[in-house]
């Protein structure tokens, strides 16, 4: 019953968003039912649809978790985008520098690697690099907030742009292969590649990009749950978010929690780099993120900042993303940009929870959710 109550509202928000989205589709001259059918059909076919849906879900599970952890501490991490860029670059950098890859960059002088590590060492190191750099990038706004009271929303936005600038500089001037017209790093060591699920799951073709990072995302959901609700650290983070003055009274160092929560959040966001670099592109690819950081906000909100909710909300958005591709090809007027529109509307509705209280509450539909 409690679960049902928790579910009622997000489901209502999604349905409302689909209705509004449908109206838009209809206004621009397509049949909404046909378009939605096309999307769902494409996202749920086996194996391609589902394989891609899971692949698309992976990064936004991580960013959704990232936003949720920060949110539980009362912080809005708008900076997952910057955190995942720096982290992705870091994981590529480790996979190049310690993976025995010689880079001939812009200067034309080959730069030698530091080591040529085998996969067993290299992959964990590359993953650790993603988490550490993501965490560090997020800890900066956390520290700025704890130390100076600088609002994390503004600082994380600024840090996003700074991240993009620095990483694109490094890519363009130091790690791009000379003559490569695309803004991307040199390919990483093959030892750093992580396996696609299709390579060991029977029936799933190995051409589908969903990889081990998806399994890591599931593990992350479980770990975040345990961390938040079953450890003293999570208790302290949540207490800080619920009432910082009471937390202080309970002997909790509120400032430290702010930095810690941001760091954990950034580490999770950084895991996106593992999916993108080690699992898919096998190089750092400039501006690869399809607004994952912002989608993470939608996912976290829709998932009620709970790991299980985040997981399912991410699947939903991934389905939309996958479903957007045939929309481009087969519908007359609607493009896959509909996905962004739906995302935006979902966030608006989820944020305006009172809207459902007000209008649906009157009909007794959501009355119970008031506790």
């Amino acid at each position: 019953m409690k679960l049902l109550r928790e579910l009622m509202f997000p489901v209502a928000a999604v349905l409302a968003a689909f209705v509004v989205g449908g109206v838009i589709v209809w206004l621009v001259g397509d049949n909404p039912i046909q378009v939605y059918g096309l999307m769902l059909g494409s996202a749920l076919t086996w194996p391609d649809g589902i394989g891609y849906t899971l692949f698309y879900a992976t990064p936004i599970i991580f960013t959704g978790l990232a936003v949720a952890v920060a949110f539980r501490c009362g912080l809005l991490n708008i900076g997952a985008e910057g955190q995942l860029y720096t982290a992705a670059f870091a994981t590529a950098w480790v996979s190049i520098k310690l993976g025995g890859v010689v880079v001939t960059g812009m200067s034309g002088v080959p730069v030698q690697p530091w080591a040529n590590l085998p996969a067993v060492v290299l992959v964990p190191l590359a993953i650790a690099a993603a988490m550490v750099v993501g965490a560090a990038w997020a800890a900066v706004p956390g520290w700025l907030k704890a130390r100076f009271g600088a609002h994390e929303v503004i600082t994380t936005i600024m840090m996003n742009f700074i991240a993009v600038g620095i990483v694109s500089y490094l890519t363009q001037y130091h790690y791009r292969t000379q003559g490569d017209p695309i803004m991307e790093s040199a390919p990483i060591s093959e030892a750093a590649h992580i396996a696609r699920l299709g390579s060991f799951i029977p029936g799933l073709p190995a051409r589908l990009p969903v990889n081990v990072a998806f399994l890591l995302a599931i593990v992350a959901c479980a770990l975040v749950y345990v961390f938040l609700w079953q450890t003293k650290w999570g208790y302290e983070i949540r207490a800080t978010g619920a009432n910082p003055q009471a937390a202080e009274y309970g002997g909790i160092n509120v400032r430290r929690q702010i930095v810690l929560a941001m760091a954990v959040s950034g580490g999770l966001a950084g895991m996106v780099g593992v999916n993108e670099v080690l699992g898919y592109h096998h190089r750092y690819y400039d501006s690869f993120s399809d607004n994952y950081g912002f989608a993470g906000i939608a996912v976290a909100l829709l998932g009620r900042n709970h790991p299980a909710g985040v997981f399912f909300a991410a699947l939903l958005f991934a389905m939309l993303q996958r479903g957007g591709i045939p929309v481009d090809a087969f519908s007359q007027h609607v493009s896959k940009d509909l996905v962004q529109v739906l995302q935006g509307i979902v966030i608006l509705f989820v944020a305006s929870e009172a809207f459902f209280r007000g209008s649906f509450g009157r009909f007794g539909l959501l009355k119970r959710s008031k506790i």
């Binding site: 708008i78 600024m158 700074i162 912002f294 608006l348 929870e353």
Partner: protein, 294 residues
């Protein structure tokens, strides 16, 4: 070296600062009333797209400009209703609008112009390359006057600092905030319009490329005050102008990385927020929905 820093650079800085000033002044109204507006980016996109399409259809930039104002205000109304009526988290609502507006123009241009994200070219005689500049720089003293010398400004500031006090004095907190957010949408809409029918001649996908956020940064850098904010916009416009000029320029065989100049506004804003250069104090009630009955 010298030929880089010439009059051209100054004009280019002014041109680049114009959309920032318009959006930042818009953001100022909203934020001084207590409503965070990180939706400036989306509002500018709405203005830019609407201005380009309507100018194309109507053949008149004035129709386009007017439509951009309406579009900005209409979109801001969504933000206002979410934040004021339904007490949504203002940052989240703003983010939603930004995400929405990465999709809507592309969706509409796909439907109307059968292109993926841009509008058709507008003939040169239908562009307004100068008017918005004049408007922006006129609005700065005007905004200062409105904020500091009129009943509207007094009420706006009171609502942003202490809404309860304003309410007790008979000022409608909601009314002020709705007005302020709508104004911010209208101004950001003009800022966006200048991008598509002033600086260039069509709308392209994501053509604001973060200017809404730079405007927000300028607003904070300018401590939520009109004149300081204008100077912040000029500074940020200048850095952008320098970045453009330096593209491909070499000093002693070394190319100057553009990225470092581009991130200057963001670094400066963080520095200011951290209190390293004076204090930037936000309106006290910023971001807090006004709740009367507890």
């Amino acid at each position: 070296m010298n030929e880089l820093f010439n009059l051209n650079l100054l004009f280019s800085a002014i041109r680049l600062a114009t959309p920032l000033i318009l959006a930042a002044l818009g953001g100022m109204f909203s934020e001084r009333s207590g409503v965070i507006n990180i939706a400036l980016e989306g509002l500018m996109l709405a203005g830019a797209f609407t201005a380009a399409s309507m100018t194309y259809y109507a053949g008149s930039p004035w129709v386009g400009l007017f439509a951009a104002i309406l579009a900005g205000a209409a979109l801001a109304l969504v933000h206002a209703v979410a934040c004021i009526r339904y007490k949504a988290d203002q940052v989240v609502s703003g983010t939603a609008i930004n995400i929405l507006l990465t999709g809507v123009p592309a969706l509409l241009s796909g439907a109307f112009f059968l292109s993926s994200g841009s509008t058709p070219q507008i003939p040169k005689e239908h562009l307004i390359p100068y008017t918005p500049i004049v408007v922006a720089f006129t609005l700065v003293p005007l905004t200062w006057y409105v904020l500091n010398r009129t009943p509207f400004g007094l009420r706006l500031r009171a609502v942003g600092e202490n809404p309860e006090a304003a309410d007790a004095a008979g000022v409608s907190v909601r009314g002020m905030r709705y007005t302020a957010v709508l104004l911010s949408g209208a101004l950001a809409g003009v800022g966006g319009a200048y991008l598509s029918i002033g600086q260039s001649s069509l709308f392209t996908r994501n053509m604001t490329s973060g200017r809404g956020f730079i405007a927000l940064a300028a607003l904070i850098f300018g401590k939520w005050r009109p004149v300081q904010t204008m100077f912040a916009c000029l500074l940020f416009g200048f850095t952008e102008a320098v970045a453009i000029q330096l593209q491909g320029v070499r000093f002693g065989g070394e190319e100057i990385p553009n990225q470092f100049i581009q991130i200057i506004p963001y670094v400066l804003t963080i520095v200011v927020l951290a209190g390293f250069i004076g204090q930037s104090r936000a309106p006290r009630a910023l971001g807090i929905p006004y709740q009367k009955e507890r």
